[in-house]
């Protein structure tokens, strides 16, 4: 079976879907691996490394002709049109945001798997690219914040006076949020965290963060580890609490995503106005609308004296590690779905069912259907 890896074309995307190491392991399992020339360059992987790993470095059109096309970002409509009929595409998709792409897939009977739709069950952890990439993103938010802030993080008692530690306020203790806590704590900041899921309190504390408890409010529904629905009462009380704490913060990091929806606005313009001049907001949710009302996609702006960073593709700023991890994820999925002789198409199996979006000309993914039909 031929596995093709395309070079990413999206702006600011520096990752690649397979690393030489992982390519080598696929070659060992007797897959034919084709890689577009220069695909790994931005991640520090040269064509030679791929060649010596047993992959074949080819042109874009050759790669598109493979049985399976691996990518990080969703293929563009053009890329989809370059693929063979009945080819198989694996990548991040966020299918509910790309109805046209899905129709191309269906026209051409391309089967597509979405890395972002892998169910979060124990045995799928190795394939969980959302986790692996959010984790890196969480780290990077803190580094970016520290870089932009005109202060240092740790407490320091020196001959020239005492520098008080920076205060970091983090919204959302998912994978990225937790890693952000860990990183900020490491650098010596005081970290406060808010989340809608009560079970995150223990997790936050296990990393040395302080959890801001929204008292006397309930109403968070979670499903498969994701926050789905939050009651209005909770949000109101949370907002009150935040208004109080955000005035003190030097850095605010927002990671609150609600899957398949526009992200909730947690930091309003009023709140930004109350913040100290020179403080920094890093909005991880900027791509799905932003948790901060003032953040702008892929821009760093200064508003009301506050620096607001809206980098949408944080993992891509750590391309070496991000590609490594993504490659492991995607190859684990591939090996789960297929042998070198072809795909197994076990349609009732949980992981397959969870991440198969289009198949035989049809949109088969329930969740995507439900959103697109709205």
């Amino acid at each position: 079976m031929k596995v093709g890896v395309l070079k990413e074309t999206k702006e600011r995307e520096r990752r690649v879907a397979l690393s030489p190491d992982v390519a080598r392991s696929l070659v060992k399992k007797e897959f034919d691996v084709l890689i577009e020339s220069g695909a790994g360059e931005q991640s520090g992987f040269s064509d030679e490394e791929y060649t010596s790993a047993g992959a074949v470095v080819s042109t874009r059109s050759d790669v598109c002709n493979a049985d399976v096309i691996l990518k990080v970002e969703a293929p563009t409509v053009e890329e989809a049109n370059l693929m063979r009929n009945e080819a198989i595409s694996i990548s991040f998709l966020y299918a509910y945001t790309r109805p046209e792409l899905l129709s191309v897939f269906n026209e051409r009977r391309i089967s597509s798997f979405a890395m972002d739709a892998i169910p979060r069950i124990s045995r799928a952890q190795k394939m969980d690219a959302l986790s692996s990439q959010s984790n890196l993103a969480g780290y990077k938010t803190v580094i970016m914040g520290a870089h932009a802030l005109g202060k240092i993080f740790p407490l320091m008692m020196t001959a020239a006076g005492t520098i008080t530690p920076a205060k970091v306020l983090i919204f959302g203790a998912g994978v990225a949020g937790l890693q952000a806590i860990a990183t900020a704590k490491r650098l010596g900041a005081m970290v406060e965290v808010t989340d809608v899921r009560p079970e995150t309190k223990e997790q936050v504390e296990s990393l040395g963060g302080r959890f801001l408890v929204v008292e006397g409010a309930e109403g968070v529904k979670t499903e498969g580890g994701y926050a789905r629905e939050v009651s209005a009462e909770f949000l109101a009380k949370q907002k009150q609490l935040i208004e109080d704490r955000i005035k003190e913060a030097d850095i605010v990091i927002t990671t609150a995503l609600v899957i398949g929806k526009k992200s909730p606005v947690l930091v309003t313009e009023e709140m930004v106005k109350t913040m100290k001049p020179g403080s920094v907001i890093v909005d991880m949710a900027v791509e799905s609308g932003g948790n901060c009302a003032l953040s702008e996609l892929d821009k760093t702006v200064v508003k009301h004296g506050v620096t607001i960073i809206g980098e949408s593709n944080l993992p891509s700023t750590l391309p070496v590690n991000a590609s490594q991890l993504y490659a492991t994820n995607i190859s684990a999925l591939l090996l789960h779905l297929a042998t070198r002789d072809g795909f197994k198409w076990e349609m009732e199996e949980e992981i397959t069912r969870g991440c198969l979006i289009t198949h035989k000309g049809e949109l088969v993914h329930e969740f995507t259907k439900s959103i697109l039909s709205k």
Binding site: S122, R123, N135, L178, Q179, R186, E202, S206
Partner: protein, 462 residues
């Protein structure tokens, strides 16, 4: 009696003391057993040289027969059957005490027609009573463990009442015997009563509690020997018997505590089912073996390789600093200490790495799962600190489990596993973990930070 013989007995007594003391610590246990055997040899030799020539052959024949049987059983028996063998040996000891007391009594009252004094008579009665109970009790224990009779608790109504009545009757008979020393029937009746009592007392106790019962009966056989010592006015019997009686009681106490049962509870019978640790285990019906901090420390002290497996519980307890300390102490003792980091231990990728780095555990001691998973089989001890799902063998063995297919650490392959967590509650995946019930697994319950702090304290003293 010759002063030399008495001195020999004194030496034997001291050797028994030393022996028991040494038997309580892993490093010295074997030597302790040897010393106590030397003591026994000295005591036997000192006794043998006293006997009259006329009995030499009889006595030697008996000793040879006994030794042969003893050795054959001891070396033939399968290692897993040791507990029942101990029970059987113990029963023999009890019966021997009964026999000696009865023989001495018979000799004096019937054959020599001496009117023995009351102290002696009471001692005889105690010997018979305790020896008899020990014998049949041990035999029942043996049969239960052996599977010859059901290991389940055999309970019937009025059981305790019957036992009480029997005991009162036995005391009555003893009183009669004292009043009427020349009539040997009383002592014979007492013997029979004792034998029945032994059966009735052990029958209602379940198979799982048998080790505790055997330990208790062992203590009894010591007391019987002690009583026999009073019968014969022999100090070495008194010392040895008293030692075994007292240390046996303590051991019984320790064992029942380790099983989380009160001794009274066990003796009242009807328990000892495999549901023993029900309340501990929450809804789980896995039977676990608990270990105390002190005992755990001793185990740590004997191993030469240790793998520490941290999990989310370590993070919750913020135990990373004490865990590092534990590792350092073990290293100082020459133990090869490594940390096995499961890729999804904790609640975020790299959770364990962050904490262990904070605690200054050097990177080169951390091993990722694939790098260490084959080494568990060659490892003396695995210490699981607040990990659960990541060491759950169900992921490999139970296709119905929600974590089936997730790679896990093969901790169960190690010689011994000690798991530190607060309770039998499940981890993230919400499922039971059969590891905890494994034969080589000991549970060290408590908050990881507190427990390991204590453990470190104990280890420093060893």
């Amino acid at each position: 009696m010759n002063i030399l013989i008495l001195t020999a007995y004194l030496i034997a007594s001291v050797l028994f003391i030393i022996g028991i003391k040494m038997l309580g610590r892993i490093k010295t246990a074997r030597k302790g057993n040897m010393w106590s055997a030397v003591g026994m040899l000295i005591a036997i030799l000192a006794t043998v040289i006293q006997i009259e020539a006329i009995s030499w052959i009889d006595i030697f024949i008996c000793i040879i027969i006994g030794s042969a049987i003893g050795l054959i059983i001891a070396y033939k028996v399968h290692m897993t059957k040791v507990p029942e063998m101990v029970a059987l040996f113990n029963g023999f000891g009890g019966l021997a005490s009964l026999g000696v007391a009865l023989a001495d009594f018979w000799l004096n009252t019937q054959e020599r027609s001496i009117i023995t004094d009351n102290i002696t008579n009471i001692s005889v009665a105690l010997s018979i009573l305790i020896g008899g109970v020990t014998f049949t009790g041990s035999v029942v224990a043996f049969l239960k463990l052996n599977g010859s009779i059901t290991g389940r608790a055999i309970v019937f109504k009025g059981q305790h009442l019957i036992n009480l009545v029997l005991l009162i009757v036995a005391i009555g008979v003893t009183v009669f015997a004292l009043l009427n020393v020349s009539n040997p029937a009383h002592m014979v009746i007492l013997s029979i009563l004792a034998l029945i009592l032994g059966i009735l007392v052990v029958i209602p106790i379940g198979g799982a509690d048998m080790p505790v019962v055997i330990s208790l009966l062992n203590s009894y056989s010591g007391m019987a020997a002690c009583a026999t010592g009073f019968v014969l006015g022999n100090q070495v019997l008194i010392v040895a018997g008293a030692l075994v009686g007292a240390s046996g009681l303590i051991l019984t106490q320790i064992m029942s505590k380790a099983m989380n049962r009160s001794l009274a509870n066990i003796l009242m019978g009807g328990f000892g089912q495999t549901t023993g640790s029900a309340e501990q285990t929450g809804a789980s019906d896995i039977v676990v073996k608990e270990v105390g901090v002190e005992e755990a420390a001793q185990i740590f002290d004997t191993v030469s390789s240790l793998i520490i497996v941290p999990g989310y519980g370590m993070a919750v307890a913020q135990a990373q600093h004490v865990v590092r300390e534990l590792g350092e102490i073990c290293e100082k003792k020459g133990v090869n200490v490594r940390y096995a980091i499961h890729p999804v231990a904790g609640r975020m990728p790299g959770h364990m790495n962050v904490l262990l780095a904070e605690a200054n555990v050097p990177y080169d001691k951390l091993y990722e799962m694939d790098a260490i998973n084959d080494d568990f089989a060659n490892t003396d001890l695995v210490f699981v600190v607040g990990a659960n799902d990541v060491v759950n063998p169900a992921a490999k063995t139970n296709p119905g489990s929600p974590i089936y297919g997730m790679p896990v650490l093969n901790v169960e392959k190690a010689q011994t596993v000690i798991v530190c967590k607060r309770s039998m509650r499940a981890g993230y995946a919400g499922i039971e973990n059969e590891l905890f019930g494994a034969d080589n697994c000991l549970m060290l319950f408590g908050d990881a930070k507190q427990v390991i702090t204590k453990l470190v304290g104990e280890l420093k003293e060893l």
